[in-house]
Amino acid sequence: MGRLLLISRLAARDVRRRPAQAALLLVVIAAAMAALTLGLVLHGVTANPYAQTKAETAGPDVVASSVGYGSDQRRFAALADTPGVVAHGGPFPVAWPVLTAHGVTADVMAEGREQAPAAVDQPKVLQGTWVHSGGVVVERAFANALDLHVGDQVSVDGKAFRVDGIAVTAAVPVYSQVCFYGGCSGPPSRSLQFDTGLIWLTQPAARALATPANPLTHYLSLRLADPASAPTFVQKHQPPSTNGPAALTSWQSLSAAAATLVSQEQNVLSPASWLLCLLALATVAVVAGGRMDEQERRVGLLKAAGATPSLAAIVLLAEHLMIAVCAAAAGLAAGWLAAPLLTSPGASLIGAPGSPAFSVPIVLLVVIVALAVATASTLVPALRAARVSTVRLLAGTARPPRRQAWLIRLSSGLPVPLLLGLRLVARRPRRSLLSGASFT
């Protein structure tokens, strides 16, 4: 207990005595831990929200779009009776108008719905109510992008609607990837400010938006007896390719589409976080090595007072471990706060999927890596300092370098600044190597 008090007291006081060095260590390790946290929490961040959304919206196992069937609409309609299909929702009429709100315009997929809930693919209303005459329900990520709220007025192909609700679905890829699988229709020449969004409105209202130049399409949501076999079902019943979008999409593809929203960030962050850990290791080693030299007298004093070499090393190590724990906490907090900024498109799914799913293993891993960085970079200089003779540590005198005669002759011809720089590098080769590594 007494030793523990002493170790923590010495560590805390030294941090207070050299706040700038401590702050530098803290920032370097915390930055690496924040990147590591982001990389870890983004791993599979959309998998759980998609599954949750699918469960709460009676999400389909397969979505069929009439666009891919061209003129063979009978085959499209027959999908609901295909063996293996146990339930279906739709076909839902879909119009492709232009929505105007707050002075901006966007293509929308306007899906016509009954007021009664569908057996398959019933969007979950998060705010407001489900569709009523004269109103629209807006998909959450699209509503966020356009800053739409319940009660706002929007114009759809020039007709006024009020926003009745905000909802989410598992049947269509989240904004801004609505057209990712099933494709989008509508006149191609429109130049709009936003990607295609998704809204729901009553079926009469959807049909009223159709024109000969911009006709309705239909979507059918299927539930299979064996959801896991959805990719096989899609492969078997996919109509011949027409260079257009796929007619059938499995729920696995939709889930993967949700994951692509963060895959790029994850691909960058995972290696970056490990590189940052290495950078932190190099930086901490350089700073810690420098501090050890400064602390030789301290170690000598501890040893003279009866500290064993291992205890003297622990005293030096404790300070860096204390900083590492604080840095891990700061890194976890920064990563947790930053993750939603990188995954905001995932807000189209249920359960605030933009917030990272923190788990005990992630927290433990980050803390362990932070401690490992501090230990790996401090242990060697701490042990070296603890092993040096107590008298030499207390005396604090410069150690005479061993020089060869040929080296002295060679160095005598060098300019003084270069000579001094080379001497410094040669005296601390490992530190110079680490410094070089941290620059790269």
């Binding site: 207990m1 007494g2 030793r3 002493l6 006081r13 005595r17 003279a304 007072a305 009866g306 003779s389």
Partner: protein, 249 residues
């Protein structure tokens, strides 16, 4: 204090040698020193700068290892001890007082004095009580919350002595304890050493100061790493010196 009437030397050195460097640069800092220090004895070591006094003290306290010879401390041979065992022995049997005080600047006076007791595994409460008691003894209670940088040289040395006494050592090894002090502080220090001596503690003091040496029971003179004189000082000498510097009323 661990004081007993045993006649066995508490510190013993046999044919002690310590070399630095090699070849033409070889320096023999201590050259064949033999020494027995009895329990309760005060020994002063004097000699010119660079004669090996401090090196001898470091070897006797286990801070440095000899090139040859034996060192015994409190009945144990220490020159071949492991670093860990040596640390344990140093913690319990030896207290060091240095010319440069060697206090931890980031710790308060009280915390500095607590340090050896905490290293020895004492409870924080026990270490604090002991430190308070020692600070009272060296008349530094009023400054217990100050940092060493806020103290005068004499005050720092008093704190260093209190710290050296924290684990009730058998021997106090003092390396130029008055070297950085003015005359008044030196007188204070002599008074303190006199108290320690009276309490039966074994003291080995390396010094340049004849007033300090005169308070010892024995005076060893060194030159070029070797003992050139070993004189037992009569009571009269000490007493007259004490009177001279005002230790006696």
């Amino acid at each position: 204090m661990k004081v007993s009437q045993s006649q066995e030397p508490v510190v013993r050195a046999c044919n002690l040698r310590r070399d630095f460097g090699r070849g033409e640069g070889l320096v023999r800092a201590v050259d064949g020193a033999d020494l027995d220090v009895a329990r309760g004895e005060t020994v002063a070591v004097m000699g010119p700068s660079g004669c090996g006094k401090s090196t001898l003290l470091h070897l006797l306290g286990g801070l440095d290892r000899p090139t040859a010879g034996e060192v015994w401390l409190a009945g144990q041979r220490i020159d071949q001890m492991s670093e860990r065992a040596l640390a344990d022995l140093r913690r319990s049997e030896v207290g060091f007082v240095f010319q440069a005080f060697q206090l931890m600047d980031e710790l308060t006076v009280l915390e500095n004095v607590e340090l050896p007791a905490l290293l020895a595994g004492r409870s924080p409460r026990s270490a604090r009580n002991r430190a308070s008691e020692l600070l009272e003894r060296v008349e530094m209670t009023q400054r217990s919350g100050h940092l060493p940088t806020e103290l005068s040289g004499g005050q720092r040395q008093r704190v260093a002595i209190a710290r050296a006494l924290a684990n009730e050592p058998t021997v106090i090894l003092a390396d130029e304890p008055t070297g950085n002090l003015d005359s008044a502080a030196t007188t204070d220090m002599l008074r303190l050493f006199d108290t320690l001596r009276a309490s039966g503690l074994t003291l080995i003091i390396v010094t340049h100061d004849e007033r300090v040496a005169a308070t010892a029971d024995r005076l060893i003179s060194m030159r070029d790493g070797a003992f050139v004189d070993d004189t037992r000082l009569a009571d009269g000498t000490t007493r007259s010196l004490s009177k001279l510097i005002g230790l006696e009323d």
